[in-house]
Symmetry: C2
Subunit: 638 residues, 2 copies
C-alpha cells in the first residue's frame, strides 16, 4: 500500500478522506466503583492487557488514560517478529503486515577511508535470519498498533473502552481487605468534569503509566540506573534525498558529525530519522525548547554528507535522552505478601529507542501478565501464579538494559580511524547487530525454570522447541480440510493451555500408537488434567487444548479413525471440532525435521497460554503431564 505522498494524516490509511480516519472518542461514562482489574495508562502495555482481558466475559476491566483520546502519531514504530506472532494470536497480524514497512535488509554506512568527511556504504545485511520466525520485522506508527488493540477490546467477550481524561492521583493498598484491596483516586481533566474526583476499588491494578509512573511511585518502587547524557532527536519526515538506501534501515556513522539511524516507514514515502545530538553537559536536560527541527535537519545533512535531505513535511518529532533504568521491583509484593499492584512497560524499564525495544518489551510484559491475571480471577489458578510475572519479566528487562547500554555506547561512539584510535570499528558494530538479531527480534526470550517452565530433562525429544522459549511455529497440513497452515497459529489469545502430541513411529491410531493411549488417558482417566481442571459444562478443550501431529501424509489418515478427544463434540449443539489433527508434512518438508522432533519416539510439548514452552516430555510420561498441571492449575471440575 502506498500512502502519505500528499502529506501525513493519522488513522487508517485505507480511508481516503483524512477526516474520516479520526473517529470520535468514546462517550464520557463515569467509572465503575469496583473492578477486577484497573489498568492505568493507554500505551501499548496497557492496551495489550485490556485486549487480553476483554477475551474473558466474566472479568471486569477498566482502563484509564490522562490524555483525552487515543494516540494518533509518534513514539515507537518498530514491531519485532515475536510481537507480530503475538498480534497473530489476536488475528490482526495480517492487517499490520499489509500496512507496515517490512525490514528486510539493513545497510551500514561509515566514513570513506579516502575522504573521511563523506560517508560510504560498508555493507548490507539481511535483517532477520532465515526461519527465525514466520513473521516479518515491520515498522508502523505505534498509534496504528493502539488502534488494533482498541478494536480487539471493543469486540471482546467483555467489551472494554478506555476512560479518557482521567489522571491517577493516588493509589493505596490495604492488604487486610480481601475483596478489593486497592483504592485508586482519579481526577477528571476534561472541561465538562474538570477537577471531579472519582474513586475506584480494584482487586488488581496494573501500572502501565509510562516512565514517570504514578503507580510505581505509589508502591514505593524506583527506576534506578544511569544516564549517559547522550541526546537524540527523532523525526518522521516526508523528504527528498539522493541517499540511495533511504528505503532500507540504515545505520550511519559519520567521521565527526555524529551518527544517524534511518528507518523507512509505512506507505512508501515517510521515513524516520534518529539523529545523534552533541554530548550533553552533566545535568543538562534536553527538550524541544533548546532543539529545533531546523537544527535536526541541518545535523542530518552534515552526517549524511555528500548526500542531502530536503524535508518537505514533518509528521512528528521529539528529542530524547538516553538512560538505562530499571525498576527495583515489578510488583508490590513484600515479605511473602502476594502482589496486588503490578508495573509493566516503560513504568519498569527505560532505555534508548534505537534497538526498537520499548514498545515490544512493554507489550510482552503484559502478554506475560494477562493470562495469569485471568487464571487467578476466574479461579483457574491460585494467586501465587502472579509471583511468576516479576520473576520472568525482571530477567528480560535486565537483559534489555544490559544490551541497550552496550548497543547505545557502540552506536554513539565515534568510528575508529587514525584520528580516533579508540573509536568503534563499524565492522564490530555490525557484528554486534547480527549477534543480537534474535534478541531484538524478541525470539531469544528465555524464561527461567519454575513451576511454569520445567527442567530440560527431555529437551532432546524436541531440540528445536526450547523449554522456556516461545513455541517456534512451522507449517503443517491440517487433516480435515487439507489446509497448509502454521501450527503455531492454532494458538489464540484466549488463555488456554496447549498440549501438542507429536506421534512417534507407531502406526497411526493402532494399539501401539502412543497418541491414542495419551488421548485415552486424558479423556477418561480421573487423574487426567483435562478431567480435573476443566469446569463441568465447559467444552473439553476450554482449559487445555489437545492437538496432535502425525508423520504420515494427511491423505493416509481417515478422519473416522481419530480418537474422539482430538475431534471433540463441543458447544450447545455438540458439534465436532475437526481442527486439531495435522500431518507434519508440508511441501516436502516435515515439521519434525524443521523443529527437531524425535521421529522414533515423538513427544508431548506443553505450551502456555502465552505460547511459551512449559515442558517437553515423552508421550507415555503421564505422571509428568499430571504433575506439571497439578502445580499450576486449580481443580474447577468439582
Amino acid at each position: 500500500m502506498q500512502f502519505y505522498q500528499q502529506g501525513f494524516h493519522p488513522g487508517d490509511p485505507r480511508i481516503t478522506d483524512p477526516l474520516d480516519r479520526i473517529i470520535a472518542p468514546p462517550l464520557k461514562h463515569p467509572m465503575p466503583s469496583e473492578v477486577d482489574v484497573m489498568i492505568v495508562g493507554c500505551g501499548p502495555a496497557g492496551l495489550n492487557l485490556a485486549a487480553q482481558l476483554s477475551k474473558f466475559a466474566s472479568i471486569s476491566t477498566c482502563i484509564v488514560e490522562q490524555k483525552d483520546d487515543r494516540l494518533l502519531v509518534g513514539q515507537a514504530d518498530g514491531i519485532a517478529c515475536r510481537t507480530m506472532e503475538m498480534f497473530e494470536a489476536y488475528d490482526f497480524a495480517d492487517q499490520i503486515k499489509q500496512e507496515a514497512y517490512w525490514v528486510n535488509e539493513t545497510a551500514f554506512w561509515k566514513p570513506n577511508t579516502e575522504q573521511p568527511e563523506q560517508i560510504t556504504r560498508s555493507s548490507k545485511i539481511q535483517d532477520v535470519e532465515d526461519d527465525l520466525s514466520e513473521m516479518p520485522h515491520v515498522i508502523i506508527n505505534q498509534a496504528r498498533v493502539h488502534d488494533a488493540f482498541l478494536d480487539v477490546m471493543r469486540h471482546g467477550a467483555r467489551k472494554v473502552v478506555p476512560h479518557y481524561s482521567r489522571q491517577l492521583i493516588n493509589l493505596e493498598v490495604n492488604p487486610t481487605v480481601t475483596d478489593y484491596p486497592v483504592t485508586l483516586t482519579f481526577e477528571r481533566l476534561d472541561s465538562q468534569h474538570l477537577g471531579t474526583i472519582e474513586t475506584v476499588k480494584a482487586k488488581y491494578v496494573v501500572g502501565c503509566d509510562g516512565a514517570r509512573s504514578t503507580v510505581r511511585k505509589s508502591i514505593g518502587r524506583e527506576l534506578v540506573g544511569d544516564s549517559i547524557n547522550q541526546g537524540w532527536g527523532v523525526m518522521d519526515v516526508l523528504a527528498i534525498t539522493d541517499f540511495p538506501d533511504i528505503r532500507l534501515k540504515s545505520a550511519i556513522h559519520s567521521n565527526n558529525e555524529g551518527n544517524m539511524l534511518i528507518i523507512p516507514r509505512e506507505g512508501g514515502y515517510m521515513v524516520r530519522l534518529y539523529i545523534e545530538l552533541d554530548k550533553l553537559k552533566s545535568n543538562e536536560r534536553l527538550s524541544k525548547k533548546n532543539i529545533t527541527t531546523d537544527y535536526l535537519i541541518a545535523a542530518a545533512n552534515r552526517i549524511m554528507h555528500p548526500y542531502t535531505l530536503e524535508v518537505k513535511e514533518i509528521a512528528w518529532w521529539s528529542v530524547y535522552e538516553i538512560g538505562q533504568r530499571l525498576t527495583t521491583a515489578f510488583d508490590d509484593a513484600e515479605n511473602g505478601r502476594l502482589p496486588h499492584v503490578f508495573l509493566a512497560g516503560d513504568a519498569c524499564h527505560t532505555h534508548s529507542p534505537k534497538a526498537g525495544q520499548g514498545l515490544n518489551t512493554s507489550v510482552n510484559d503484559t502478554w506475560n501478565l494477562g493470562w495469569k491475571l485471568a487464571h487467578v480471577l476466574i479461579g483457574r489458578a491460585k494467586p501465587e501464579l502472579l509471583q511468576s510475572y516479576s520473576l520472568e519479566r525482571q530477567t528480560v528487562a535486565q537483559q534489555l538494559i544490559d544490551f541497550d547500554r552496550e548497543f547505545s555506547k557502540m552506536f554513539s561512539a565515534k568510528p575508529k580511524s587514525t584520528a580516533n584510535p579508540d573509536g568503534v570499528d563499524p565492522a564490530a558494530f555490525q557484528k554486534y547487530f547480527v549477534k543480537f538479531g534474535r534478541f531484538t527480534a524478541g525470539t531469544a526470550i528465555h524464561y527461567p525454570q519454575s513451576n511454569l517452565v520445567s527442567s530440560g530433562k527431555y529437551q532432546g525429544l524436541a531440540t528445536g522447541q526450547t523449554i522456556g522459549m516461545r513455541f517456534h511455529s512451522a507449517k503443517v497440513t491440517r487433516l480435515a480440510d487439507a489446509k497448509s497452515m502454521h501450527l503455531g497459529h492454532s494458538m489464540k489469545a484466549d488463555g488456554r493451555w496447549h498440549i501438542f502430541a507429536f506421534a512417534g513411529d507407531q502406526s497411526f491410531m493402532s494399539d501401539a500408537c502412543q497418541v491414542k493411549a495419551l488421548c485415552e488417558f486424558l479423556q477418561n482417566n480421573p487423574l487426567s488434567p483435562i478431567q480435573r481442571f476443566t469446569p463441568k459444562n465447559a467444552d473439553i478443550d476450554a482449559v487445555i487444548n489437545v492437538q496432535a501431529v502425525f508423520q504420515v501424509s494427511h491423505r493416509k489418515i481417515e478422519v473416522s479413525d481419530i480418537h474422539s478427544l482430538l475431534q471433540p463434540t463441543k458447544s450447545r449443539y455438540g458439534l465436532k471440532d475437526y481442527e486439531k489433527v495435522y500431518s507434519a508434512l508440508y511441501e516436502g518438508n516435515s515439521f519434525y525435521d524443521k523443529r527437531g522432533i524425535d521421529k522414533n519416539n515423538g513427544c508431548i510439548i506443553i505450551v502456555r497460554p502465552d505460547q511459551y514452552i512449559a515442558k517437553v516430555l515423552p508421550l507415555d510420561d503421564l505422571d509428568g503431564l499430571t504433575s506439571f498441571f497439578d502445580k499450576v492449575l486449580l481443580n474447577l471440575a468439582t
Copy 2:
C-alpha cells in the same frame, strides 16, 4: 478462525457480541437529481462497480437497492481464485483469506459396487492446480463480500453509500439528449416515504438488478435459453455427522437417491448442502411452498447413506431450479448508437449454482466495465471504448452457459452401473471437473482480439503471459526495500494502465540497456503515450504506470543508477516513488523462468487496468507501444 459453534450470526465474526455485528443502515438521504453513473441493485455486481467508481473523486455514482439494508445471509459462497486476485487489487483479499474456508481438496463419492445403496469414496483430488494463482479458492458467505465492497465504497476518494428501499419502476433512454440521456423513476419502499416517486437523470445506467432485471426489460433485452426442470435445495447448516469428508468439498452421487454437493463453510463448523430434488414435471415451479427443510434433510440422509446427518441449526436455505439462460445483448446499443445502459451479473446470465460461478462471473462483469466507464467519464477515452464490454463479457457468459449445461447434466445424471448403463461414469465426471478447473477458477478467461487485446505476434517473448488473459503473478524482489512480493499485487483497482519492462541480457542501465532506452523515450519523446495521455499537473504515472524487472539480484543494482522514469518524483512535494523496480529473483526462482519471459531479449507487457494482458512486444518496439495506446486513449495533456 473458528466461529458459529454456538449458532450462526451474520456480520463480522471478529466481533464477539452478535448484536454489534449488525451496523445501522445508512441515513435515508434523498437521491441526487443527476448522476454520472446510476447502478441499480446492491448484489455483488453492483457493489463491485460502485467500489471501483468510488476510487475516482470526479465521478458521481449512485447505487440503489429495493431491499431496506445490506444482505446478511445466503446466496452464493464460492470465491474463485481470480476473484480473490481482484479483491487483492482492492486490498481486502487478506481479510477474506483469514475468515473464509479454503478449498484445498475435493472428494468424490459414488455408489459402492458391492452394496450400491451405500456410498463410498472414489477419490480425493487437489482442488486448484499448483501455481494456477497465488490466491486460494475460498468459501464465504456472499454477504461478507458485500461488506468488504461497502467498506471500499465508504472509504473511497468519492464516498458512495447505497440508497436502500428504492425500487426502479421505469427507465427511459433519450439518445438525442447529450448530457444525461437516461431518466430513471424509483418508488420508495420504506414506511416513512412509502410510494414517494424519485426521478434521477444519468449519463450511464448499469442494471445489476439480478435475474428478473427491470433494467433489462426496459431496454428490450431478454434472457433466452432453457430450463431442464431440475430442482435443487440449498441449506447452510450446523450439523452432526459421521460423514468423514464433511470438511472437504464433496460431490456425492448416490445410486437411486439423487446427488448432493457438500461445501464446508467458514468458521470450522458450518456446511452448505446442495441437494438434488426429484425431476420436476414440465412447467412445475419449485418454491419454498412445496419443499420443506425436513424434506431436504431427509433427502440428504438418503443420499449419504450409510452416513447420517443431524441438523442442529439452519442458517439459511433456499430452493433452486436449474436453467441456463443468457441475455440477447449486454447493453442498449443499436444501429451504431453507442451504449448508455449496460447489464451485468445475473441480469445477463443465469445458470446452476454448483460450479460457483454466479457471484464470480457477476463481479467480473463489472470489473471489466468499471474502468471503461471511468475512462470515458474522466475523458481518458472515447465512448466507443464502452462497446468492448459487451464484446468481451458476452463471450465469457456464453462459455459459462455452455460449461454449466454440460456440468449440470453430468452432475444430475445417475451414476453408470449395470442397472443404469446410460448413466455418467463418476470417473468421467471427475475428469470433467479437473479439465475445467481453470475455467471455474476464473483464470481461463480469454478476451478476443480487439483494440484492447492485440494479436499474438510477440507472444513468444512471454509464453506464460497470454495476451487477452489476466496477468499471471509470481514473486519478485523489490529493489529499494528488498521486499519479496507478488509483482501482480503492484496493480491496484485505480484505473491505471501498466507497462512492465522486462530487461533482456544487456547489462543494467548500460548504454545498450533497452529498458533505459524505453524509459528515455517514454519520459521525453513527444510521441510517448505518457507524454501524450497524462494530464498536465498529474503525476507521471497517473495514467500509465511503468515498472521494470531485471534479471540480476537486487543487491547488484544501485538505486542511484535507475532511470528517473522508474523513480519518478510525485505529489505536491515532489517525493520519489521507489516502488517500481524489481529483481526477477526470489528464493532461487526467476520470474522469467516461471512465466516464460525471454531472457535474451526481454519484452514489454502492457496490462490493462483490469489486469488483463493487452499486448506483448519487444523492448524496442516503440511504434507498437505508441500505436496501441493511440487506439485506446485520448490526449489529455493539452
